[in-house]
Amino acid sequence: MIVLKLAVASLLNRWLTGLLTVLAIAVSVMLLVGVDKVRKGARDSFAGTIAGTDLIVGARSGPLQLLLYSVFRIGNATNNITWATYRDIAQHPDVEWSVPLSLGDSHRGYRVLGTTGDYFTRYRYRGGQPLVLSPGAVFSDLFDVVLGADVAANLGYRLGDSIVIGHGLGSVSFLEHGDKPFRVAGILAKTGTPVDRTLHVSLEAIEAIHVDWQQGAPVPGQTISAEAVRSLDLTPKEITAALVGLKSKLAIFRVQRDIAAYPDEPVSAILPGAALQELWSLVGLAETALAIVAGMVVATALIGMVTMILTTLNERRREMAILRSVGARPSTILGLMTAEAGLLTTAGVGLGAVLVYGALALLRPVIDAMYGLYLPLAPPDGTELATLAAIVVAGCAAGLVPAVIAYRRSLADGMSVRL
């Protein structure tokens, strides 16, 4: 009791250095907890990029590649699948719904996705949240386009604006579908997924803008106007991939096998969750590095605290001699110094936790809106509490260094300290 009282009084006496030490520890704890929160948030956001879809179907290739081009709009499909194959798969008795995806064109660096209106109801992200149009509506006209939130925000598009889609990929297109401009019919709310960076048009529109093209270039003299194209049969000939929902989760592996064994064309189906996890295990190396850096910062703060206590030891020799003279044991001196380190660390950890949760509560809507990173505001879990407790223990342990020195000195000094 007296030890704790003396430790508090002694720290208050050196409140400025004490406060700075507490702040250093608090900032390091903020970093550690903050990195952990962002890490978990990023992992959850990543894992929640696509939800509610049981299988993704595409031309036969690796699961990661299929996931990358169909969901993350990264890279290209090795091959397309024919519309007939897609229809067969869609009519499989275990398939409840399917949404075709057609990729290949872009607009100023953003991918254009040809799909059906079902995409907007079937595509789910982060625990089953649906896409929300704000403002506008799903395409009603052949040349309607629905923009992802980032596309609209970064390119400054509003409802009713006219857009020309470029052929192929790349931020600058030399070939454009200039004769068939699109009208912005809807803009999606921010999701924090690749949907934000996608322009959505109907499958028929993809067919329509390519109807007078061959081998990736317009055929001279065969131009068909935007009006004339409406009267043509715009059923797609092939698509890139398809999202598939099943009637029962139990059927997933059966349907996956059936698709892999599809006789007319080499196609494959992947489980998005499994592929996402596989992908995260690659990306996740960075999270480990971040956690290590944050841990190092905590260690640095604790070393700073020990340095602070050590530098005061000399000027406090007299204080220790006085305490010994009134009957304090050397072990009391040891306890006093350790208690000071413990108090500083506990205050730092407490302050850091309060600050990081305060910042989280204040900033999470902003972070969600700006980066699409959803950070849940949950009370600290067991691991986090254990980490914080471990920091306090480490602080006390580090405090033993100056404590043992003070202990030894108080044994050797006796009453002979002269300052």
Binding site: S10, N13, S325, A412, S416
Partner: protein
């Protein structure tokens, strides 16, 4: 221990026999005290030059360090045979110490400093009375030692003048009525006029108690006030690392 109480009451305040002590490295300073006794209620001045082993002798008597050889009986208890923690408890209960200067904790008021010894000894706490009574005793001591209310109320006693700090140190040594007061050159930081006044106060306050005073100093002008004056060189031989003991006893 049973019959020890009466024995203790009649025992001399301090009795050293055949004491040998050597500080650990790097100092290796050693001291030998063949015989040194202080009677109850005595006012003893121990005279000696700097570096003569005065502080070492006081550390031994106060039980801050234990001798390698010999017996140090303080009010009848051989503290040389006590364990470290027991010596610390014994000191807290029976001994009050006043240093040369920088006597006070750098934090805490005059009262906090004066009440400090009570935190380490239940027996002394019992003598001083519980909470309010102990505070009243401390305030009374401080007032008798001439500390005004402003100084008593000051949040940091260490910021007061040296003279005021020394008075607080004396009050801390006296609180709870210890048997022995050890003063290590308590006047050397004061000028002549203040020295006189401080010693007047010390003796006045001590006069009301039965405490024994052992004060060490190198200042021979103080001798008149004490009941007995002993030269350190007459009772102790010091050794400075060379392995040879020096002083009067060495020739004996």
């Amino acid at each position: 221990m049973g019959g020890g109480e009466t024995e203790r009451a009649s025992a001399p305040a301090i009795a050293c026999d055949g004491v040998r002590f050597c500080w650990p490295r790097p100092s290796r300073f050693a001291i030998a005290v063949d015989r040194f006794e202080v009677a109850r209620g005595e006012r003893l001045l121990l005279l000696g030059p700097s570096g003569g082993g005065k502080s070492t002798l006081l550390s031994l008597v106060a039980g801050i360090v234990a001798p390698q050889q010999g017996r140090i009986a303080v009010v009848g208890e051989d503290i040389a045979r006590l364990s470290g923690p027991a010596r610390d408890r014994f000191r807290a209960e029976h001994i009050g110490i006043v240093f040369q200067m920088f006597n006070l904790l750098p934090y805490g008021s005059a009262l906090d400093n004066v009440l400090l010894p009570l935190a380490f000894s239940p027996a002394r706490r019992a003598r001083a009375g519980t909470g309010a009574a102990a505070r009243a005793e401390a305030v009374g001591l401080l007032a008798r030692l001439g500390l005004d209310e402003a100084a008593i109320a000051a949040p940091r006693a260490a910021s007061l003048s040296v003279g005021q700090q020394q008075r607080i140190a004396v009050a801390r040594a006296l609180v709870g009525g210890p048997d022995i007061i050890i003063a290590d050159e308590p006047t050397s930081a004061l000028d002549r006029a203040h020295q006189g006044r401080f010693l007047d106060l010390l003796f006045d306050t001590l006069g009301e108690t039965k405490a024994t005073l052992v004060m060490v100093s190198h200042d021979e002008s103080l001798t008149a006030r004490f009941s007995r004056v002993v030269a350190l060189s007459d009772i102790a031989r010091a050794e400075n690392g060379s392995g040879r003991l020096s002083g009067a006893g060495a020739q004996a």
